[in-house]
Symmetry: C2
Subunit: 214 residues, 2 copies
């Protein structure tokens, strides 16, 4: 007895990650109560983003322009490249302000269980970006412009500390073994604000091994 | 560094119940990956529902027509009226197929804490519907058409078994004391498929008190 238009909206919303049929119904009722303030703006924002946002052909980021704002930003360090699994990870690093180089979004990890091999990831383009920098004569000039004309010196593998994430990091490290770039990974340790009591043994072990003078 | 169009979409999605900033970001990335299959249809379904769905002026249900399909359905029993808090409750009862009369959606409960009084609920209209049925001469004919021309004989108060829900049920019962309609409530007891071990004491007590011959 739910009207067809509502039923369809519920079914589509239920396909979002984190929402099931029940929470989709709740969301739709909430939307109906805030038609002007939320429902119409949301429909509009969704249609607009679907139209305006594209995948950066250089790094895999999402932006209104291609190449994306980060790839075009002359203030970012072209010698540093950070490899992440998803755009969400790029956003997290950008929020932290911890990194000022370029990014490369893989679009996932290698996964034996899910049957994702190197061809399903944005890997060929990564190798190409790193190689292209190496083949070019080092310009030495800092005003070279985009990252793509400069030599990449360090690739930070900012992948998840999961089996699949680490497998992917190993694979990339092997593929880049002869490229001459420096490879690095994020440090393991106690999260800032984290209580020891709640940390898993692996994290505590890593933090203890990497302990530093106080 | 998130593009403005994406940022706005994330902010709007995060205002849905059950979604926060983090899950809204995940949802948006999922949408961007399924632009044709999900994002555009969802934007369209949302705009369409916002346009086509209205609140039934008779019962408070949501439908493409006013009065809604249930209020206009001649096959539903006009002598039975079920009072629910929200449209979601109406949907739940319709899914169960347990009720074949008309509905009345209050739009919430009385709440001392949230400061919701009788005027904030769809209560006046409920009293009016019940009274109007009583004042009219009982027609006695079964082909009377919509529920509103017939005498309401029983009002089922299908409200939550919470303090606010029960307060609201009491309030409605008092307001209808002189109307001559029969008032009823949903039975308490062990949920079908429920394990005794996981039930709270209140439910077990209610189920024991209302025990029936096997």
């Amino acid at each position: 007895m739910i009207a067809g238009d509502l039923e369809r909206l519920i079914q589509l919303l239920a396909r979002l990650p984190g929402l099931g049929p029940r929470s989709a119904r709740r969301a739709v009722l909430h939307l109906m109560k805030k038609r002007e303030a939320l429902m119409l703006p949301l429909a509009d924002a969704m249609a607009r983003a679907a139209d305006s946002i594209a995948i950066c052909s250089n790094c895999g980021n999402l932006d209104t322009s291609d190449p994306c704002g980060i790839c075009r930003d002359p203030k970012r360090d072209p010698k540093l490249l950070c490899v992440v699994e998803e755009v969400a990870d790029l956003w997290a690093l950008e929020r932290s302000g911890a990194f000022k180089g370029g990014y490369h979004v893989l679009g996932g990890t290698l996964s034996a269980i899910d049957g994702r091999g190197p061809d399903q990831l944005n890997l060929a383009r990564l190798i190409e970006r790193v190689r292209r920098g190496q083949d070019a004569t080092p310009s030495g000039s800092d005003d070279a412009g985009t990252a793509e004309t400069a030599r990449i010196e360090e690739v930070v593998l900012a992948l998840s500390a999961t089996v699949d994430g680490q497998t992917t990091a190993h694979y990339i490290a092997e593929r880049m073994a002869d490229s001459g770039v420096r490879l690095s990974r994020l440090a393991h340790g106690v999260p800032v604000g984290g209580e020891l009591d709640y940390l898993d043994d692996g994290t505590l072990n890593a933090a203890m091994k990497a302990r530093r003078p106080a």
